[in-house]
């Protein structure tokens, strides 16, 4: 079926089997490899994307569910002209990345959190990210990064 949606700010239209998983659409059909698949069954959060600003697990979504939606993947997070979004910058500065496989999902989940709650407590950060598993970092530097990102965004008077 023909599916039209906005992807990282640009309209796209493709002909896809309606039951194709969104993670495959993004990675295989559209070549956006930043979205990771680590379990395929909705347990890890590595495949997180933003659909109308809400984090969704792309391994559990089907192509048809994209119709008319506004999709953001890690590739589309930073505005044109800036190399890194302030959240990505915060992850770099806090050293919140080890193997990096969970990172795109973490960054996108953070984007949503900070848009809802611009100055979350560490507890709130932990809770908001509890659907995103990281086996490497022990989470502490990720929590640091989210706090730092919150500061950066409030300073700039921006929201995520």
């Amino acid at each position: 079926m023909k599916i039209s949606f906005t992807l990282n700010g640009k309209p796209v239209s493709c002909d896809l089997p309606s039951n194709r998983r969104v993670v495959d659409v993004l990675r295989e059909d559209l070549g956006l490899m930043g979205t990771k698949e680590a379990c395929g069954t909705g347990e890890c959060g590595a495949c997180t994307i933003l659909v109308d600003g809400i984090p969704r697990l792309s391994c559990l979504m089907l192509a048809a569910q994209l119709e008319g939606r506004d999709v953001t993947t890690i590739e589309g997070l930073s505005k044109s002209g800036e190399t890194l979004h302030p959240i990505q910058q915060a992850f770099v500065e806090a050293g919140a990345v080890q193997c990096g496989f969970c990172t795109p999902g973490m960054v996108l989940a953070t984007t949503h959190l900070l848009s809802e709650n611009p100055r979350p407590t560490r507890e709130e950060i932990r809770e908001a990210l509890s659907g995103n598993i990281c086996r490497c970092t022990g989470y502490q530097k990720i929590v640091d990064a989210v706090e730092l990102a919150a500061e950066k965004l409030t300073e700039k008077g921006e929201t995520a």
């Binding site: 990675r27 070549g31 956006l32 490899m33 930043g34 979205t35 990771k36 698949e37 680590a38 379990c39 395929g40 069954t41 347990e43 890890c44 590595a46 993947t73 890690i74 590739e75 930073s78 190399t83 890194l84 990505q88 992850f91 770099v92 050293g95 990345v97 080890q98 193997c99 990096g100 496989f101 969970c102 990172t103 795109p104 960054v107 560490r122 950060i125 932990r126 809770e127 990210l129 509890s130 659907g131 995103n132 598993i133 990281c134 086996r135 490497c136 970092t137 022990g138 989470y139 502490q140 530097k141 990720i142 929590v143």
Partner: protein, 758 residues
Amino acid sequence: MITKVVGKRVERVGILDKVTGKAKYGADLEIPNALILKVYRSPVPHGIVRKIDTSEAAGVDGVVRIFTAKDIPGENLYGIINKDQPVLTGEKVRFEGDPIVLVAAEDEESADRALAALRVEIDELPAVFDPNEALKPEAPSIHEKGNLLFERKIVKGDVEKGFTASDIVIEETYETNMLEHAYIEPEVGVAYRDEDGCVVVLVTTQNPHSDHAQLVSILGVEPEKVRVIQTETGGGFGGKLDISVQPFLALAAYHLDRPVRMVYSREESFQATAKRHPLKIRMKTGATRDGKLTAMKAEIIADTGAYGSYGIAVATRAAVHATGPYEVPNVYVESKAVYTNNNWSGAMRGFGVPQIAVAHESQMDKLAESLGFDPITFRMMNAFTTGSVTPTGQTLNASVGIRETLKKIRPYYEQLLREADATQLSGLTGMKYGVGVASMWYGIGNTGHPNPSSAQIEVDHEGNVTLFTGAADIGQGSDTVLVQIAAETLGLPFDKIHLVRADTTLTTDAGATSASRQTYISGRAVYEAALEVRKQLVERAAKVFKVPANLMVCEGGFFFPQYREFQKLSLTDIIRRSLVPGEVIRGEGYFNPETTSLDPETGQGVPYTTYAFASQVSLVEVDLVTGQVGVVKTISAHDVGKAVNPANVEGQIFSGVAMGIGMGLFEQFYPRKTKSLDTYLIPTAMDVPEITPVIVEVPEPTGPFGAKGVGEPALIPTAPAILNAIHHATGWWVNRIPADLETIRGLTSADEMEKSKS
């Protein structure tokens, strides 16, 4: 020593690609026209393969080729320490998941249909799942040589005399869990044959040069006909030391004229890769009334499952470290690795030491309590110091930081005790709070075996500096640390050094990313290479300035004769003036820490040149009603020799504590049952508390800038500190991990029964 790059929190190599989604992991490589590989695995845990009928599967649309054991051109056997594992088994299956047939197809659906169309007949054999049962003479024999893979003995002094001279002896049995690494990136790779007929395998791995050697033997080809390139790797924790998809990729690429791709689903990653060895430990420890350890005896049985993998290393490490970081004059240890029909166990962060630490640290607290010492005082009275002799008879001459780590956690311990008391008073009924301490030691590098690393540094005529290392960075940060060491030694800024890593054609063997060895061993090899290049550069610069080389200064990327900084020339200036196009300056580095093999009868010898030490204190809360244990705070002090990158060291500490919480409280892999992250729970951000890392630096003279290692040590004290805290909170000794809901609820109801009786 004043350093400019080493000891600094530099930005991690590769981090920009990781936060933007550009980093290329195995699944992200775009290889046009690649075939998909899938494996048919044994549905039974033990049996003889009678017949493999591939005819129907071969006829499935989209199927290109089907491989069985007979298609393997070289040796159909692999294994990192002892070769006992077939790539595709044609005769015997030894666990549920043993690979039998490999399918290459145009797409996943065709490959799946082919798997369903295979007819494999297996005569089931009686299986054995308990290592104690497997050792009985009547047990089914899993391998021809019998079910005992290996036994390690350590004998020091006279253990029975030691017990006789003790005022108190405590004997207890401990059991630890089978664990899944659950690195977030499943096994994946691609392969193709290049123009020269070389089979190129790009794969997620922590062991590229060993992969290469194993593939060469499986394909039966010359070494230059195989090339292994490590892709960006999404974690390993020991699980990516054994080969997984590599032989399937290599085999298919060898036979077919098309590139191939293989990725394990999470379920396959669970079923078909190594686990942490569960250990059964019987430990007896004696001490005198005034608090001196006198003797320790341990019997250890490790379930190594269907294949050897790292079983020998695990049984050995558990034995060597069985006393903990304490002086014990009389020691007797017997440690066995035993085959069963369970999933095979292999390397996982710490190789048996996290397991044995559960035993020795529980024993320490039991003795301390009985003798009336607090846990830190009792540990301090027995902890190693310079000149101490280990159970293998090795005298520790340098970098023995255990006492320092205990001193560092003492104030936190006291503060947490007060907090626990205060929370207990104001807290809810049914909640108990307690504080627990644990320490550890960990030998860096392979046990009693040579484990060299090598590295090269090149400077070309334009002044480009390139570091070549075979070391695989799997997320722990060796790329960053090695570049820091090179930059510091060369007197160059961090970002001046270009890195080529983990490609068996372009780099030489650095050994595995395991045993917490890369900073120490590969770091030293890089240091040696850099020293050599620096020497050559200084000689060139001396010629440019027409002064003797010993009067040249090299600092911050500039060269100048002593006291003449105003004349300084950059590296590029020196290079331009002294190298012709095409000429390079090259330095080779090599390091192999001194070890001796352990005596087969007594285990005496020098297993490692150096050891890391750590002490940790945790505050836990125990919910007596739900059985849930939560870790509220953790302070972890690690003697790393020198923190080449303090941010990386902290990252490892946070990581290890998180993994230790899973190990101590809820992770448990059930062979043949656990299939997904839905039932195998790993810690989330909610399960891990705020952690205070404390870095202790007692320099190791043979390490680069004094550095040792921290990757595995970070995990080791966590589970035992939790168990000791549970005891402090509730009075119960938990001798089995995980201390999960059922365990705690079981103890609560046993307690209630006891109370109602009296």
